[in-house]
C-alpha cells in the first residue's frame, strides 16, 4: 500500500533560522502519526506547509501519489487535509451551527448544518448541541466544534495541534475514542504533542523533530517515554529533585474568599479557603477559565478583597495593593508574560524594575536607581540562564521560554515568603521547564511557600505536596498529592464534590 502523504526533502528557512531542514517521512492511510518535538523544533512550520499556510523553499509532497503543493489552506482542504488549531477561531456570540457555517465556502441552510452536526457528533461520540452559543461552551466543547467542522469536510488527513492542552483527563478519553474510530475508518491523523504518555497511548508511529530536522522515527507503543524524551531533547533530561525540607507554620491563609467576576467573560471566585505552610508547594489544577487569573489577581493584590479574607503570616492583607503585599513578602507571577508579567516594549532592566522596586530598593524618594536596577536584571539573567545579549534588550526580543525564566527569576531572586505562580512552564521547552520547576522546589527548600496554578497535571504531580482543583471559581479541599490517581484528579477537576472519594 502506498502512503497517503509522502514528504520528501522539505526545507523552509526564515531570515534567522532554518525551521525545517530536509524533512522526509510518510503518513499511511488510517494511521495515527505523532509529530514530537520541543518548542522551536519546527513542528508548526511543517504542519503549516502541509496545510498550505507556508510555502516551503524546496521539497516535494505527494498526496495519494499526486503532487501536492497547496498554495493556501482552501486548496489543502479541498484535497482532504483538515486541521484543528491549538487556538480556536470561534465567535463567542454565535451558535455552534453558525460558527461552522462561517467556515464553509457555500454553507447550506442552518437547519441542515444543525442536522449534520447532530449526525456527526453522534457517530463519533462527541456530544455537542448545534444550537448552543459558543461563549457558553467549555474549552473541550469548543474543541469539538472545531473537530466537527473538520469532519464535515470528510478529510483524509486530520492534523491536530496540541489538542489535549486544554482538556480534563475525562475529555481526553472521549477525544481519544473519537480519534481511534476515525483511524479505523481510514482517516489518517497527524498528532502534534509533547506529552509523551499520551502519544504512547494513542499513536502507532512517531516522527521526532529536533532543531528543524527529523532525528528519529519510532513506534511509541514499544518505546519508553524516557527514551523518546531524550531523542526529543538530545540529551538526558534533568528530573527535578526535592530536598526533603521541613514543613513549617502556615504563612498564607485564605478564609471564604469571594470576588465578583471582573468582566462579562471572567469568573467569580466563591468561598475559596486554603492554608499554605512554609516549605510546601500547593498545586492548583483546573482547566483554564475556571478562575485561575482571578485567583492570582486576588492574591497578588491587583484586585483587593474585603478585610479578613487573606492572611499573610499575622497580617490581614486583603485590602492592601500589590506593592504593599510585595513588601510583606507575597510575590506573584501571572500567566500572560507579554503585557502582564512583563512589558514587551521595555528593556529587561525596566522590566526588572517593574516588580523589584519595593523589595530591592530600586528607588530612592521616588527617583529610580538605574544602576541598581541594571545589576538586578543582570543577576536574574545570570542566575536563571536567560539567553539574551544583555539587560538593555527589549522583553519582546526574548523567546517565550527565556522570558518566562526571566519573569520567574525576577520574583524568586527577591526571596519571597510566599510565591504565587500561574502556569509557570506554559509554552516553555522541556529543559527550561525542568529548570523552572527545580527553582520552585529550591525556593521551598529555603522555607518559602509556593502556590502553583497549572493546567499541566504531570507538572503538578511532580512538584506539589498537596493538590486541589479550581472549578467554576470554587476550590476543592486540598489533599496530599502523593498517591492521587488520574481518576481522582479527573473527578476533582470536573468539580465532583465527593471529596471523601478523593481522599487517599
Amino acid at each position: 500500500m502506498s502512503a497517503l502523504l509522502k514528504i520528501d526533502g522539505l526545507t523552509k528557512a526564515y531570515p534567522a533560522v532554518i525551521a525545517n531542514n530536509n524533512i522526509s517521512f510518510d503518513i499511511q492511510q488510517g494511521e495515527i502519526h505523532a509529530l514530537l518535538g520541543e518548542n522551536g523544533a519546527g513542528k508548526s512550520t511543517l504542519v503549516k506547509a502541509i496545510y498550505g499556510l507556508v510555502k516551503p523553499d524546496t521539497g516535494i509532497m505527494h498526496l495519494n501519489d499526486a503532487p501536492f503543493a497547496p498554495a493556501e489552506p482552501r486548496v489543502a482542504r479541498s484535497a482532504g487535509v483538515a486541521m484543528v488549531f491549538q487556538h480556536f477561531s470561534l465567535f463567542d456570540a454565535l451558535s455552534v451551527a453558525e460558527n461552522i457555517a462561517l467556515g464553509m465556502e457555500r454553507p447550506p441552510p442552518q437547519h441542515k448544518i444543525a442536522q449534520q452536526v447532530r449526525v456527526v457528533s453522534n457517530r463519533y461520540g462527541l456530544p455537542l448541541d448545534p444550537d448552543r452559543i459558543v461563549g457558553d461552551l467549555s474549552a473541550g466543547e469548543r474543541q469539538r466544534v472545531e473537530i466537527i467542522r473538520c469532519l464535515l469536510q470528510d478529510p483524509k488527513l486530520l492534523i491536530m495541534d496540541e489538542p489535549t492542552s486544554v482538556l480534563t483527563p475525562q475529555e481526553v478519553g472521549i477525544l481519544f475514542k473519537t480519534l481511534r474510530k476515525l483511524s479505523q475508518e481510514g482517516t489518517a491523523i497527524l498528532y502534534i504533542s509533547h506529552k509523551l504518555e499520551e502519544i504512547r497511548e494513542l499513536c502507532e508511529t512517531a516522527t521526532i523533530l529536533r532543531g528543524g530536522e527529523v532525528v528519529a522515527t519510532c513506534d511509541p507503543r514499544t518505546t519508553s517515554a524516557g527514551e523518546m524524551a531524550e531523542m526529543m531533547v538530545g540529551r538526558v533530561l534533568h528530573v527535578p529533585e526535592r530536598a526533603a525540607g521541613d514543613v513549617g507554620p502556615v504563612v498564607l491563609s485564605l478564609k471564604n474568599m469571594s470576588a465578583p467576576a471582573p468582566n462579562a467573560f471572567g469568573t467569580a471566585l466563591s468561598d475559596i479557603t486554603f492554608d499554605v505552610k512554609a516549605g510546601e508547594i500547593l498545586g492548583i489544577g483546573g482547566v483554564a477559565g475556571n478562575g485561575q487569573d482571578e485567583l492570582v489577581a486576588a492574591l497578588s493584590g491587583e484586585v483587593t478583597v474585603p478585610a479578613g479574607m487573606i492572611q499573610l503570616k499575622h497580617d490581614d492583607i486583603g485590602r492592601l495593593g500589590v506593592n504593599a503585599r510585595r513588601k510583606m513578602g507575597l510575590l506573584a507571577a501571572p500567566e500572560e508574560r507579554m503585557g502582564h508579567a512583563a512589558a514587551p516594549d521595555m528593556s529587561l532592566t525596566e522590566n526588572a524594575l517593574m516588580t523589584g522596586l519595593a523589595r530591592k530598593r530600586l528607588s530612592h524618594r521616588g527617583f529610580l536607581r538605574w544602576p541598581a536596577a541594571r545589576a538586578f536584571a543582570k543577576d536574574v539573567i545570570q542566575a536563571f540562564d536567560v539567553r539574551t545579549p544583555g539587560p538593555a534588550n527589549m522583553a519582546r526580543s526574548l523567546s517565550g521560554g527565556n522570558l518566562q525564566k526571566f519573569v520567574i527569576g525576577r520574583e524568586i531572586l527577591q526571596a519571597p515568603d510566599v510565591f504565587v505562580v500561574n502556569q509557570p512552564t506554559w509554552g516553555v521547552d522541556a529543559s527550561a521547564a525542568a529548570a523552572i520547576r527545580q527553582a520552585l522546589l529550591d525556593l521551598t527548600a529555603k522555607g518559602a511557600a509556593v502556590v502553583c496554578i497549572s493546567q499541566d497535571l504531570d507538572e503538578l504531580m511532580e512538584i506539589s505536596d498537596r493538590f486541589c482543583a479550581l472549578n467554576g471559581g470554587q476550590l476543592s479541599e486540598p489533599v496530599a498529592a502523593q498517591g492521587l490517581s488520574v481518576e481522582q484528579i479527573g473527578l476533582m477537576l470536573g468539580g465532583a464534590q465527593q471529596m471523601d472519594d478523593a481522599h487517599v
Binding site: 495593593g321 500589590v322 500572560e336 516594549d345 521616588g366 529610580l368
Partner: protein, 360 residues
Amino acid sequence: MITLEKRPEPSQFWVFATPLLSVLLTMVVGGMLFAALGQNPFVAMRTIFLDPLFSEFSWFYRPQLFIKGAPLVLIAIGLSFGFRAGVWNIGAEGQYIIGAICGAAVGLAFYPMEARWLIFPLMVLAGALGGWAWAMIPGILRTRFGTNEILVSLMLVYVAEQLLASMALGPLRNPDGMGFPGSRNLSQYPSAANLELIQESAMHWGVVAAFIAVIFAYVALARHLFGFHVRLAGQAPRAANFAGVNPNRLILICLGLSGTLAGLAGMFEVSGPAGQISIDFNVGYGFTAIIVAFLGRLHPIGILLAAGLMALTYIGGEIAQSNLGLPGAAIQLLQGMLLFFLLAVDVLTNYRITWQRGRA
C-alpha cells in the same frame, strides 16, 4: 509585492529619521501645492522656513520664535505625559483659554492697585488652577462614568470659546473701552504685565516656564518613578496594574498636568504678547501643540525642537501671507500635513519594508 515585517526591536535610526523625513515630505508636497496655487515653490518654502531666520528683517522675526514657541512647548510637554500613558487630552486649547480668562480676571480684579509681588504670582496661580479645573472635567467624567476623554475634552474647547466671547463682551470688558469688546490691556498694567525680561529679546516669564517644564519633564521621564509609571501604563496597561499603578489616579494626574501647563501658557500669553482678553484671543496653540508633541517623539528635547519648527511655520506663514499672498489656510494645511506624514512614516520605526516576489 511589498510586505511589512515587524522588527524585533524598534529601529534607533528611524526614531530620529522619521521626523526629518516627514518634514522633507511636507516640504515636497507643500511645494507642489503652492506650485498649483501659482507660486514658485522654492520661493514659498524659503519664505516660510528660512526668511524668519536669515532675511534682512530677521532681527524682528527671531524673537518671535520665543513668543510663538513658548506656549507650544508648555502645552506639548503637558500633553506628552498623557499621550505616553494613553490619556488623550485633545482639549488643551480650551484649557489654555480658561487659564487665560482666570489669570486675566485676577489681574483685572486688582486694577489699578500696584503690588506686582502679589498680583502677578496670584495670576500665575489662577491661570494654572483654571487650566487644571477645566481638564478635570473630562478626567472625572472618564474615571467616574467611563466617558471618552477625547470627545469631552474636545467639546469643552467650544464651550471655552463661547465663555471667552461672553467674557470679552461682558464681565471683563474694558469699562473705558468705548463699548468695544475686549478687556483692558494687561501689558500696560505694570503689576500684571508679563514683560520682557531682557530688552528686545522677547524672553518673557512664559519662555522661562517652558524651559523649566522641559527640564522637569526630562528628569521625570528618565529618572523618576512617575515617568516610569506613565510609560508603563501606555505600553502595557495590565503590566502597569501589576506594577501597582492605579489607572484612575494616573488619568487624573496626566490630565491635570496637561491642563495646568496649558492654563499657564494661556495666562502668560494674555498678560504678555496678546495683552488682553478678546473674542479671538486663541490662535490654535492647543491644537498645534498636539503636532508638536508627536513631532518631538513625546520627548522633552524633541518637543523643544519641534516647537521651534512649528513656531517657524507660524512666523513664516505670516510672512508668506503678506509678501506672497498665500492664503492663511495653506499654512494650516502645511502643519496638518506634517503630522499626517509623521504618523505615516512612523511605521518604519517598528516595521521594515521587504519586497517579495508574488506567490504562485
